[in-house]
């Protein structure tokens, strides 16, 4: 039986880990390779780097961060942020990433998902969706929530699956940073419509939130950033809590 995964995410800018709330008010908080190694020691099932660098120099730095991390951390490594071409995929996979996540570029150019899946395999194509409640449904937003693409988030997840996405990383912009729990309603709306694994992101603040998301939705994994970064909880505490609640997790 597959284990539910806990994935710490590190937001990286110019080679440094940074963290903001609701995608604003960013501050620097450490070295990504060290942080990833620590999460690995805590029992993280996968490590996610989100590159929020805008410059070309910063992107080269990210490739180096990935390469150095892959020399020390032996769990799957997912890298996203600013990916816009098959060449970006290739460069990161060659540097040691196991999966690449693509967000706004895929919304603007969905064929990128198909091309990448055909060349590298679906297992390494993660489509990240930032969704925001709008009336009775959810809309896809990009650029850190600043731009509403007027696309239904559930339909977009289905389309991403059809195009060859191997996984959906679903972030609720309504719950992100609020620490009031994952967006169960949004997760169920998407999980019930796709067959590929969905990673829940945005809103966790307590241990209970993790057991809730696995009891109340079909999410395969839960991702968190600041919670782990500020050591409010450790990955091992979360996994112990899940184990105590009879949710299958990898022993650590």
């Amino acid at each position: 039986m597959l284990a539910k995964r806990i994935i710490p995410c590190l937001d990286v800018r110019d080679g440094k880990v940074v963290k903001g709330i609701n995608f604003v008010g960013i501050k620097e908080v450490g070295d990504p390779v060290e942080c990833a190694a620590e999460y690995n020691d805590q029992g993280a099932d996968e490590i996610c780097f989100l590159d929020i660098t805008a410059t070309h120099e910063g992107r080269k730095t990210m490739v180096d961060v990935v390469r150095r991390t892959a020399q020390r951390v032996f769990v799957p490594l997912t890298v996203g942020g600013g990916i816009s071409s098959v060449d970006d995929f290739r460069e990161l996979l060659r540097s040691g990433a196991d999966k690449v996540s693509v967000n706004s570029a895929a919304v603007r150019n969905p064929s990128l998902i198909k091309e990448a899946a055909e060349i590298f395999g679906s297992q390494c194509v993660v489509v990240a969706i930032d969704a925001k409640k709008k009336g009775d449904s959810w809309t896809v937003v990009v650029n850190g929530g600043r731009i509403d693409m007027n696309i239904d988030a559930v339909e977009w997840a289905q389309k991403a699956e059809e195009l060859g996405a191997g996984e959906i990383l679903l972030t609720s912009m309504d719950t992100d940073g609020m620490k009031q729990g994952f967006d169960i309603e949004l997760l169920n709306a998407v999980c019930n419509k796709v067959k590929i694994p969905v990673i829940a992101s945005g809103g966790c603040g307590t241990l209970q939130h993790f057991s809730d998301v696995f009891k109340e939705t079909k999410a395969s994994a839960a991702l968190a950033a600041s919670l782990f970064h500020y050591k409010e909880l450790t990955v091992s505490e979360v996994k112990q809590h899940l184990k105590d609640n009879d949710i299958p997790v990898r022993n650590f």
């Binding site: 039986m1 597959l2 284990a3 995964r5 690995n40 029992g43 099932d45 892959a70 020399q71 020390r72 032996f74 769990v75 799957p76 060659r94 040691g96 196991d98 395999g121 679906s122 297992q123 191997g166 067959k195 590929i196 694994p197 395969s220 990898r250 022993n251 650590f252």
Partner: protein, 199 residues
């Protein structure tokens, strides 16, 4: 010295990173002389069976691998593990290295479980195997695959359960194969690689 066989397909650098981390001497090579000199061989692989076998054959390495396993341990990883068997049915029918009796077939799990089988799954020990030293029953390793080996239970050191019994670790004489990725399986995976290096 472990030779990581480079035939143009695979997760060579991940495997090398893990061996380097463990302080195990290794070389990525497609050179027959290196393969003959090495103490042990690792055959990695990612992608589709027919392409991989064709590349291995084009690189002129099929004969040397078959010859060398008579005297030294070989570990296949993921597709490299599948290539150890006699035949695969991925995209038609392709002959494998034939080092372990059995075939490679599309998985048909019960309960509507999804293919590919991706993620952390628990090892269930079956036959004694030196690679499982320090590995506990139920330890998790990382899988990414759609096809699986069909072979006699005596060749299977550990299974995992995914709506069917999936051979996770196979062994026959000098030949070992991991369907999972030991180089991405945390401490358990590193222990398995270390056990292989110490054979």
């Amino acid at each position: 010295m472990i030779a990581i066989i480079d035939y143009g397909a695979g997760n060579l650098f991940s495997v090398q990173n893990a061996l380097n981390f463990l302080g195990i001497e290794n070389i990525i090579t497609k050179d027959k002389a290196d393969i003959e000199k090495a103490d042990k061989l690792i055959l990695p692989g990612v992608g589709a069976f027919p392409d991989a076998m064709r590349m291995l054959s084009d690189a002129g390495l099929v004969g040397v691998i078959k010859e060398q396993v008579k005297t030294k341990p070989l570990m296949g990883i993921c597709l490299g593990m599948q290539m150890l068997f006699e035949k695969s049915y991925e995209f038609g029918e392709t002959e494998g290295l034939g080092l372990i009796p059995g075939t490679v077939e599309l998985m048909k799990p019960e309960n509507d479980l999804l293919i590919p089988h991706i993620g952390w799954n628990a090892l269930e020990k079956n036959e004694e195997c030196p690679l499982l030293q320090n590995v506990e029953e139920g330890d998790y390793v990382y899988f990414v695959h759609s096809f699986a080996a069909v072979t006699d239970s005596k060749n299977v050191a550990a299974y995992c359960d995914y709506g069917m019994k999936v051979p996770g670790l196979v062994a026959k004489g000098n030949v070992y194969g991991c369907q999972f990725h030991p180089e991405k399986s945390g401490k358990t995976g590193l222990d398995i690689l270390k056990n292989f290096a110490m054979l």
